[in-house]
């Protein structure tokens, strides 16, 4: 390193900053500059590929960590107090000792942070030292280096099954068709193969001859967008997008090797920019807790004020100067008012632990424990994918116990998202298929096809053939050769490959570990896959349809391709430029793919533009949702006069499909004239090369082309319900949770699924608020309207519970969520047992969640599996991702990730309930504990002239809080079990105890505060009365107080503990043993160690005195008697459901089940009026069909809708 002037350094730093901040980056190859010092390199301003995710450095750990920790207000408060103690006039304790508690708390947290950081450091180091191949000019070849050596502007070669080290612009691949297959499971969990195209078409690529400039956008975290162009020396610009970018963290598959140009390295790569680490949310309980901490602060100040005032009055009342008043150094006394003022601060120091210093640390520890138990639950482990429940948000476990509204996605969440082709309608004729995992071709349709094939001339293709060609072509399915572990959607050809096998064969790879955890033979399998990379390279014998496997981004596509295959239209290969389809006749057709108009949520359709190899026509195949297609159909013309009829028939069939709960898609074809194609193609190229507004421009060109379509037919795909979905929904509803379903599907499909999973019951009144096909008016079906009207006129039905369900679609929802109608909509919705929102966009989903959450002020949970659920998951209080078929985006955004919908039941009803009751009880106990203990000191102030004397040794006070009484509440918060899991699952109603304000309310807080005051009064004044007028000295008086308080506090906890396991016993008895051992040892060692206190031999003397024991027994009994009696009487006279459940728990299993059944039926009848308006009645309640309630808002909103 040569010396450079500081000015030059600053200048360079500024220049680097500017280069990084620019919207467009100019990158050049590093090779011409190889060997030069770094400052002279063209890309020197961009960071290297070494990553550092650690928060701290070794040297700066302490200051940085302290800085971090002082963001917590409580820590500042305690440090402030410790510093205050160094001011001589106000100090209450030895200043050095006063630092200990805060130091212990800070160092515990620091230790935790340091261990986490060290783990990050280790994984960073491992990643940075992963080998990779970088081109070197000197060596004229790719040489082996490490990931950390990769720099922007380098050429990196990645071979099969290797992980891409940085974001690479793909320049060369071994594949002759110029594609590179990658797997992005490390990034988003999607395990289907994706294709990436190389930039230049030059097959003989040489890094040294690369002399173009690469211009790309500023790094961003969007995994699906990338904009860049390559400017050749002759100023020719070639655009490139995400389809040419290999992202860091992806694995190269089925491609021998690929060479790329590094555009982003290290922390600028998209993978790193997406890596945000665990999320920190604040739970509802914690928010409430903070208000209670403020109450504690107010209490503390009141007590200190009393102390200060008391001291002032006490000093004033003195007739002279007694010998026990100590003047200051100059021999004169402060005035009473000044002393009182100082005393205020002394009191704050003395009573500081009223604010529980260790509460926050304890809560964190408890949550770690709770998460341990949740993730270790074997019932939440899915055998199929071998995945556990994942807790991504570390501190909202107790929110799971308070959920009132669940918003669920439909596809993939309630259903399997494993699609089976069931129905199709071609040119207005319907063909049904038997319900089977494997498509069994319909005989009439097969005959129709063979007839069409033989008869059709080359000019005029039969629509049936076209329909199946469309099925096979219009998709983005990638063909790969079936092997055991790369396969995702199994090919349903042979009898052995049925649904169960396909489930088992899905291997989801952990997205953190590199994907090499296959057993022995797996490696060879992979190699095999590689050697057969591109279908075009394989010899034809390997191309038999039987070992083809389709890698689809959505299961619908795969289902369609398999259906086409069942009818003989086999998709053989797909490259970016061509599609090969084998016809039933055995003939292979290679279609040239001119463009693919990809799917988006606005258009709700996709198209593929191909050139027919025989007719040489440009054909556009489009598929999409029926409402997105129907309005684009060509006006009927003479040639095919039936078009309108076909459309009507098809629509009729589609509605039928939807009623059966099938997913529907329409298929169309359009022949584009050469001229039209050419003019469109120019627009398209311009749009693709654009850097600004590229997405919009590209979409506009797509819309331009997708007009005047002619309908071929429609398909109906079945999506099976996941196992135990109806049971789960019933249980959740019994638990007082309202379940809403938000789906993008058609209304009919959604309603059908709603009935299937018992969201809707046959006898329910369903209010349908959907736009009729023509206009925007919202209609209520006449029969329902009449019913409601009839009902409203009947005065008998005012008090009856209501079973109204609401079905609303996207359009109406937009109106309902507009600010003027919002309130009424929410008002109506909260009276409904179920709300089904159909055809909603992702944005609307999150809007619904936000509106309900904010207007009703309830705890919401959103569960979904796809990218379209991400916004909803993020908007809800608790977001749950289902790791299913649609990749990991939902999981990445979620707080908890589960693998099946049914897991929600145990997660909420059992773990949610436990976590909430445990934490709530622990927090209340913590507040109680501190108040009960500190008040001992406070009462003593009345007997020592409010002088701030502590009669308990300060070390023992610290030990008391840090060691003797800290572990039991933490154990209590992690392990206490009020009701067994079986009971909670069997009687979901028990979940209601946590909803709304739950157990941790204002009232419970103050009751426990009052109890704390009472107990401390008893613990202080019984010993006081017993020792009155005796020769007891200060610390001999304090020792029994400390012991009594210790026992009272521990026994108080044991009243609260509901189930004593071995762990409970060990910890409780261990705490008692620790107390006596530590206190005795301390009293034996400390002769003059901690003036003014004098613990020497005090406990030893006390323990030799029978009075000590008698005092401990009576005081503890008197202190705990009220609480004990309260529990006993409440449990006997008015037992809560939880207490009853606990009683049932003690019975033997068979009797218990019987009782549980009786209880449920009993409660169902008894509960005519639900306690809260928003809680729905238990579904066991069978209301007669004709009883429907009146709710004025129902009418109002409908009235409004109708007149809109």
């Amino acid at each position: 390193m040569t010396w450079r002037s500081p000015l030059a350094l600053v200048r360079d730093a500024l220049r680097g900053q500017r280069a990084r901040e620019k919207d467009l980056r100019n990158l050049a190859s590093n090779l011409p500059y190889e060997g030069l010092e770094r400052a002279k390199q063209p890309n020197c301003y961009f960071p290297g590929n070494a990553i550092k995710t650690t928060k701290y450095t070794l040297l700066l750990f302490i200051p940085m960590n302290l800085f971090e920790q002082f963001h917590r207000l409580a820590n500042i408060y305690f440090v402030g107090l410790a510093i205050l103690n160094f001011v001589p006039v106000v100090s209450a304790f030895q200043p050095e000792v006063a630092l200990i508690p805060i130091c212990v708390v800070l160092s515990l947290t620091a230790l935790k942070d340091a261990s986490e950081d060290f783990r990050r450091y280790q994984s960073d180091r491992k990643l940075n030292n992963t080998p990779c191949l970088i081109y070197s000019r000197k060596e004229q070849q790719f040489i082996k280096r490490h990931w950390k050596d990769v720099r922007v502007g380098d050429f990196v070669k990645v071979v099969c099954n290797e992980i891409v080290p940085a974001d690479l612009l793909l320049l060369h691949t071994s594949d002759p068709s110029g594609v590179c297959h990658i797997e992005t499971s490390n990034l988003d969990g999607e395990i289907n193969l994706k294709q990436r195209k190389m930039m230049s078409g030059d097959p003989e690529f040489e890094p040294e001859s690369f002399n173009s400039a690469v211009v790309c956008e500023k790094p961003n975290n969007n995994l699906n967008h990338f904009k860049c162009y390559v400017e050749k020396p002759n100023k020719e610009k070639v655009g490139a997008g995400i389809e040419s970018l290999l992202l860091r963290g992806c694995t190269v598959r089925n491609t021998d090797h690929a060479v790329g140009f590094v555009v982003y390295a290290g922390h600028e790569t998209k993978a790193m920019l997406n890596n945000k680490g665990p999320r920190y949310k604040r739970s509802k309980l914690e928010r409430k807790l903070n208000t209670d901490v403020i109450f504690c602060v107010i209490l503390l100040f009141t007590m200190c004020l009393i102390g200060a005032l008391g001291h002032f009055l006490w000093l004033q009342a003195l007739p002279g100067v007694p010998p026990y008043l100590v003047p200051d150094g100059n021999g004169h006394l402060d005035s009473p008012s000044l002393s009182g003022f100082y005393m205020f601060f002394t009191m704050i120091i003395l009573l500081q632990i009223l604010i529980p210093i260790s509460l926050y640390v304890s809560i964190e520890l408890v949550k770690i424990g709770q998460i341990f138990f949740i993730t270790n639950d074997i019932d939440l482990h899915d055998e199929g994918t071998d995945s556990r429940v994942q807790c991504k948000a570390l501190n909202i476990t107790e929110d799971l116990g308070q959920i009132e509204y669940i918003f669920s996605d439909k596809t993939g969440t309630l259903t399997e998202n494993k699609m089976v082709f069931r129905r199709c309608s071609i040119m207005g004729t319907e063909y049904a298929h038997k319900e089977n995992a494997v498509v069994i071709p319909d005989r009439t349709l097969l005959q129709q096809i063979s007839r069409a094939e033989s008869s059709s001339s080359s000019r005029n293709i039969d629509p049936h053939l076209d329909f199946f060609l469309g099925l096979a072509i219009c998709n983005t399915v990638v063909v790969s050769v079936a092997t055991a572990q790369r396969q995702r959607v199994s090919a349903p050809f042979t009898a052995t490959k049925n649904r169960t096998i396909s489930e088992d064969s899905v291997e989801e790879e952990d997205h953190v570990k590199p994907p090499v955890k296959i057993e022995g033979s797996g490696e060879t399998n992979k190699l095999h896959t590689c050697s057969l990379h591109a279908p075009s390279q394989c010899d034809k014998s390997a191309m038999t349809p039987d070992n083809l496997s389709y890698e689809a981004e959505s299961p619908d596509e795969a289902a369609l391709v398999y259906a086409a295959k069942a009818y003989g239209f086999t998709l053989l290969a797909r490259t970016p430029d061509s599609v090969t389809v084998r016809l039933p006749s055995g003939e292979d057709l290679v279609f040239q793919v001119l463009d693919t108009l990809t799917f988006d949520y606005n258009r709700k359709r996709m198209s593929v533009l191909v050139r027919h190899p025989i007719t040489k026509e440009y054909v556009l195949y489009t598929k999409g949702a029926d409402h997105a297609i129907m309005e684009l159909l060509a006006t009927p013309y003479a040639g095919i006069g039936k078009q309108k009829n076909i459309a009507a028939d098809t629509q009729y069939h589609l509605d039928g499909y939807a009623k059966e709960g099938l997913r529907t898609l329409c298929f169309t074809k359009k022949v584009v004239s050469d001229k039209a194609y050419e003019s469109w193609s120019v627009n398209r190229q311009r749009a693709l090369a654009a850097i600004d507004n590229r997405e919009e421009l590209v979409m506009d060109t797509a819309v331009q082309l997708e007009t005047d379509l002619s309908l071929l037919g429609a398909t109906g795909i079945e999506d099976r319900l996941q196992e135990s979905v109806p049971e789960t929904i019933m249980a959740l509803r019994e638990a007082g949770i309202q379940v809403w379903v938000l789906t993008g599907d058609k209304t009919e499909t959604a309603v059908n699924i709603g009935y299937a999973c018992r969201l809707l019951e046959e006898e329910d009144l369903v209010i349908n608020m959907t736009e009729s096909s023509g206009g925007f008016t919202c209609e209520l079906s006449p029969s329902n309207l009449n019913e409601v009207r009839r009902f409203s006129e009947d005065p008998r039905n005012v008090d009856t519970t209501q079973n109204i369900s609401l079905v609303i679609d996207g359009h109406t929802l937009t109106l309902a969520l507009s600010s003027d109608l919002q309130k009424r909509f929410v008002d109506l919705a909260k009276r409904c047992r179920t709300v089904l929102c159909c055809r909603v966009t992702p944005l609307q989903k999150s809007r619904v969640v936000t509106v309900v959450r904010e207007k009703l002020n309830v705890m919401t949970l959103a569960v979904g599996d796809g990218a379209n659920d991400v916004s909803m998951i993020q908007a809800a209080d608790v977001g749950i991702g289902i790791s299913g078929q649609e990749g990991m985006q939902a999981v990445m955004a979620s707080d908890f990730a589960i693998s099946r919908f049914k897991h929600l039941k145990k997660l909420l009803l059992v773990h949610g309930h436990w976590c909430y009751t445990r934490l709530a009880s622990m927090i209340i106990y913590f507040f109680y504990k501190n108040v009960a203990y500190v008040n001992l000191l406070f009462w003593h102030q009345f007997l020592c002239g409010f002088s701030g004397t502590a009669m308990i040794d300060y070390w023992l006070m610290i030990f008391f809080n840090l060691f003797f009484t800290s572990v039991p509440p933490i154990m209590f918060g992690i392990m206490d079990k009020d009701v067994s899991a079986e009971m909670l699952l069997g009687v979901p109603e028990l979940y209601r105890t946590g909803q709304g304000t739950g157990e941790y309310t204002f009232k419970t807080f103050w009751i426990s505060m009052l109890d704390a005051f009472y107990q401390s009064l008893v613990c202080f004044f019984i010993p006081y009365l017993a020792y009155q007028d005796s020769d007891i000295d200060v610390f001999t008086f304090g020792t029994p107080l400390n012991t009594i308080s210790f026992f009272t506090i521990l026994l108080h906890l044991s009243i609260e503990i509901k189930a004593w396991t071995v762990v409970h016993w060990v910890i409780m008895l261990g705490s008692v043993a620790l107390y006596f051992i530590v206190t005795l040892a301390y009293s034996a060692i400390c002769v003059t160690c901690n003036p003014p206190s004098n613990p020497y031999w005090i406990l030893q003397r006390q323990m030799a005195d029978p009075m000590f024991y008698l005092l401990c027994i009576i005081t503890t009994v008197v202190a705990l008697l009220p609480r004990y009696m309260f529990h006993v009487l409440r449990n006997s006279i008015a037992p809560s459901p939880l207490v009853k459940a606990r009683h049932l728990d003690r019975l033997d299993p068979s009797t218990r089940d019987q009782c549980m059944k009786m209880w449920r039926s009993f409660r169902g009848i008894a509960q005519v009026k639900p306690s809260r308006l928003s809680t729905p009645p238990s579904p066991t309640l069978e209301t007669p069909v004709d009883i429907h309630p009146h709710s004025p808002t129902t009418f109002d909103i409908m009235w409004d809708e109708r007149h809109h």
Binding site: A92, P319, G320, P322, P323, Y324, V326, N330, T346, T375, N376, H381, E383, D386, S387, R388, K517, H940, L943, C944, G945, S947, T949, M951, I1022, A1026, Q1028, D1029, S1030, D1031, D1033, F1035, G1038, K1058, A1059, W1060, V1063, H1064, T1088, P1091, P1092, Y1096, P1106, M1107, L1110, L1111, I1114, V1117, M1125, H1127, V1128, N1131, S1132, I1133, R1142, H1143, L1144, R1146, M1158, F1162
Partner: protein, 344 residues
Amino acid sequence: MVKEEQELANRPDNTAFTQQRLPAWQPMLSAGIVIPGFVLIGLAFIGIGVALFVTSRSIQVLEFDYTGVDQNSPCFKCSDPKVLNCVCNLNFSIDSLFKGTVFFYYGLSNYYQNFRKYGVSKDDVQLSGDLTNFKTPSDTCSPYAYDSNNQPIVPCGSIANSMFNDAFKLYQIINGTNTLVPFDGKGIAWWTDYNIKYRNPSITPLKNAFNNTVKPIFWSKPAYELDTSDPANNGFINQNFLVWMRRAALPNFRKLYGRINEGDYAQGLPAGNYSLEIAYNYPVLSFDGRKKVVFSNVSWMGGKNEFLGIAYLVIGSMCVFMSIVMLIVYAKFKFPEEDGVPGH
């Protein structure tokens, strides 16, 4: 089966602990279950209460306030702080034998030895005989660390400075002659204080250790002259000094002055007339305090205290009463497993 287990690497351990199925004892707090416990506790408490109460009753206590507020009081003349070296005699008579060993206490009221700054004002190191702290007493002693001539005060600090300095002599008046009833001043302080915590400097004579130091301002004689007759009771290990240094927890307290356990009086004080000669030195009226002397004998439970016995009796009866209440509750409200019907 084994192979399957291996494949599911992510499968959680199926142990009672991780699945939260540890066998547990679930105590139910309900009326029916706690009645026997309450009865037992109640009876036990009543038993203890009776024992305590009876014991406390058997303890004899004799108390005399000698502050001299009242004009008829024998010490009225001494209560004026201007009168120095005042001696007053307190005469009293005992009707029957005051069983021994009789403990003799002096008591102070409204005296806050537990005042925080007062409590800090001593130097433990100095009191453990460390000579360096003789020359430079700890800051905690301020302002009683140095006198106006900047001489170190030994023993320093406010506690030592304010040591109680009334002296008592008890005479039995037998046929008009006063017979001295000896107070045993040994063993009245804590063994650990006398033997471990407080030490004199190991210099003989003791007086030399106190060179270049001054006595506390309120004291009439230096520490090495507290008991010239007995070197084992002199200096920092003077028992009265030790008793004073152990600060009282409450503002009304008594401190042991001596025990009557010698000669004729080992069995107690026989009936008769007595005279207590008090060297009245300690001013208490400035803070509205009171001084008293107490004769008392002790039992296994210490001095007389009826509170604890009564408390045990009251709580014990309450427990019995509550078990009756519980019996009624139990009869009226039964639990599911008791009648087989969930809820009620």
